[in-house]
Symmetry: C2
Subunit: 193 residues, 2 copies
């Protein structure tokens, strides 16, 4: 998605060779017009998949999923990183490690909002080592829901998560795929993986 | 907003006299069509205020703010509850207590995304004791930004936050105002406060 790549080049900030910071339009301040185009693009790519629900994880994933759900006209469910005291009844849970934050999160989804008959599209802002994606797949599997694919805004291919889950047969559509970050320069993969 | 009140009556779950759980359409699973109507309503009420930015707090506030920002065509900035390792440079910070989660959060906003010339509309899912709203007002004040008002989805008037900040002159528009919860019955305030 050229609009997104242009924006990453213009406003992305590289920290070392591993981290790309896009706080100015995705992870702290959110450019709604850009997210609307991102949501529309995910819809175009997955619209034939009979998606019944978008699944994401708090916090930044929520914005992307909501702007995508407008096109699909289905609900968003987001996994929570803490178990709120108001969450009664059963829930599915998984462990998710954040490399950026160097933190292990316990994520949960209430059993009320993920069912065997659901056809899930996972939406997230980043795919790096694949920890969050693995957690969401795990939660979907526990619910017996079918995962139709994953829509990712930015994939850092060099961290291996995308390769790992594509090998397992998951369809992943990433709108910008970064092959490496070197000396502050972002290198995109030429073609979709 | 009748559509919202009807939905709260239909799907809200009361826990004691203090907590209203709306996980089925707002705080865990998100009904995007409803949020679109909520966003449109906030726009109608605040459209003359020259709003330059919507300010909210992760996580549930992000969904409401994004669906509102589509109408205003301005960016969303969300306060973060932890200080990410990728957040370099200066930031404003405030303490916010969550009564529901019984937890004190340190919330931050990068100085890059909140400025003296900003005209802020604060958006949040709930207004109860006013802790989150107080934190967002505090952050705006530190930035020297003007706060044009606050758009709240559900106000629990009996917990006093709305009264406190209206007395200080803040314009708060709450789309559903609950005066009390008794024996599992939700009582709405008849007219806007």
């Amino acid at each position: 998605m050229q609009l997104l790549k242009d924006r990453i080049i213009k406003d992305g900030v590289c920290i070392g060779t591993e981290i790309l910071k896009v706080d100015s339009f995705l992870n702290h301040q959110i450019d709604i017009q850009l997210l609307d185009q991102i949501g529309k693009t995910f819809y175009e790519r997955f619209k034939g998949q009979n998606v019944t629900k978008l699944l994401t994880i708090e916090a930044s994933g929520i914005a992307v999923a909501c702007m995508t759900a407008r096109y699909f006209r289905v609900p968003v469910v987001f996994a929570k990183k803490t178990e709120p005291s108001t969450m009664t009844g059963g829930f599915y849970h998984a462990e998710v490690r954040s490399f950026t934050k160097n933190k292990l999160s316990h994520v949960v989804i209430s059993k009320e909002y993920l069912h065997t008959e659901d056809q899930i599209l996972i939406i997230d802002d980043f795919l790096a080592h694949g920890e969050a994606l693995g957690g969401l797949l795990n939660l979907s599997e526990q619910a017996g829901a079918a995962v139709r694919g994953a829509g990712i805004v930015i994939e850092k291919a060099f961290q291996g998560g995308g390769l790992k889950f594509r090998k397992q047969g998951l369809r992943i559509e990433s709108l910008a795929v970064i092959s490496s970050i070197q000396d502050g320069v972002i290198y995109f993969a030429d073609s979709p993986l």
